[in-house]
Subunit: 301 residues, 2 copies
């Protein structure tokens, strides 16, 4: 066991993947030449801001399990990241979470304006589906249709957007642990699950392996969210790059407020181990995914 | 020539189609049973408000030209209408056009709240792509992928959303007729064009017929928009069901402000005739589409 070397190699792999996604997003987000280029500048501002690029990493790693072409995986990973970025742009709006800072920079409605931020989110979401549906993403249109349908299901009113609606109502709902779990499954879990399953869809994986990835993603997503709540309660705003302690201030139920920090931390650890265990049927090629499960609960930002 | 009878039969056909779309939207928009049902109620409020249902009518009529199944056509028409409705919900927001009234009812952010309205638009857009990608829309996944890619192109940053961005900038841009034409092509023309082409995609129509429909849609969309500007300048707010004279008040260039009402009216008439002429290669089965071209410039709402 050489934990330091392992950690370094995961960090390297994530950095390499993040750089590749940055290049791909840059290619996929044209700026055009009309007076409306302000919109495209804002789309690029929202998407090309660096960050961990966790979801794209999950797409690339799950795709690698099934020998999916790099081009297919990068386009799919970029589409997932666009959906993630659109959701942040809309969540940050004054009518929603009203945040001024994201990854240490002004949020889109601060840097541009509110109307531009609304349209930026709309256009990023639309572009994500366009990319998935285009022939360059996969030669088999059945695969492309499945990617679109599954991403839409994960991101829509019974997935991410529904979770965001629940989150807005949470202050008045006094949710218990089961309800907070459901909220977070919808709000962040579903998109993380799609990222993990995307490789299986692209690679036409056997149903058993696809199911294993789904189970992995389920536990990973929950561990990720508990860690997020811990960061919100205990993290360093300068490292995280956004305002913290908002949930507690708003009296919102979180895993930390419901379980206490200690139990939340131990729960996250159990989930991370459990996530990795779902990958037992894969060889060493799934090692990066196994390590990501520890990474999401140990990160500082 | 029996113009009265012709007009009545078009009105009947549009009413029949609008009723079918209302039923289909009702089926396609589940309400769920979680506390987030507020979102789904708002999605239904935004979509099940009646209206002309022009875009769905164009889908159904173009699909009928190629003997597309009713089920395929209705699902595709509903997806197009969801995209149209989402765009209205977001356009009406305080940060955008700030409208309180739509089709004679409070806009979504007035009836619910701003955050819910933002999420409602997001979820309707996402649902539209989900519907198109699902197998029930067409047995051939190539057709479904093409529908998704073409709708996304029409609705995205270089289509409808880009047009809306341009529209927001228009007050400060002093656009000329060519630029207003481009703006309107993006903002409303592209989605109308997709509605007309959708039938050809569903029916795997020969390229020539698809091109004819595209040319028809181009002129129809422009005629529609000029008529819209005329309605805004001269219409009856009670009939139209929303606030009028906003463009003139904001000093925005419109076809009416640039051409004057008389030339705008004659231009709309020429475009409507030209639109119908593009359908010369079709038989009587395209009569409803021919008549729609007159309808869009003669409507009072």
């Amino acid at each position: 066991m050489k934990p330091r070397a392992v950690a370094t190699s995961l960090a390297d792999a994530m950095a390499e993947s993040a750089a590749a996604i940055e290049r791909e997003l840059d290619l996929l987000l044209d700026i055009g030449d009309g007076p409306e280029r302000r919109l495209h500048e804002a789309m690029r501002y929202a998407s090309l801001a660096g960050g961990k690029r966790l979801r794209p990493f999950l797409v690339l790693q799950s795709a690698a399990l099934f020998k999916v072409s790099r081009a297919s995986a990068l386009r799919t990973a970029s589409a997932v990241e666009m959906v993630h970025c659109y959701s942040l742009v809309h969540d940050d709006l004054p009518a929603m979470d009203d945040d001024d800072l994201r990854r240490g920079r002004p949020t889109v409605h601060k840097q541009f304006d509110e109307a531009t931020a609304i349209l930026t989110g709309d256009a990023l979401l639309t572009r994500a589906f366009e990319i998935l549906a285009e022939a360059a993403t996969h030669s088999d249109p059945q695969v492309r249709s499945e990617l679109v349908a599954e991403l839409a299901s994960a991101a829509g009113g019974f997935g991410m957007v529904g979770g965001q609606m629940l989150d807005l109502l949470a202050e008045s709902l006094a949710l218990d642990v089961a309800e907070v779990t459901r909220l977070q499954q919808m709000k962040t879990g579903r998109l993380i699950a799609f990222a993990c399953e995307a490789g299986a869809i692209l690679g036409k994986a056997p149903v058993q392996q696809r199911r294993a990835l789904r189970a992995y993603a389920h536990d990973l997503g929950l561990a990720f969210q508990i860690a997020d709540d811990l960061l919100d309660a205990e993290g360093d705003a300068a490292l995280v790059g956004k305002a913290l302690r908002k949930d507690a201030g708003a009296g919102k139920a979180t895993f930390v407020s419901l379980l206490g920090a200690e139990r939340a931390r131990s729960q996250a650890g159990i989930l991370a181990d459990q996530a990795a265990a779902h990958l037992d049927s894969f060889d060493a090629e799934a090692d990066a995914l196994r390590r990501v499960a520890r990474f999401v609960i140990e990160r500082k930002s």
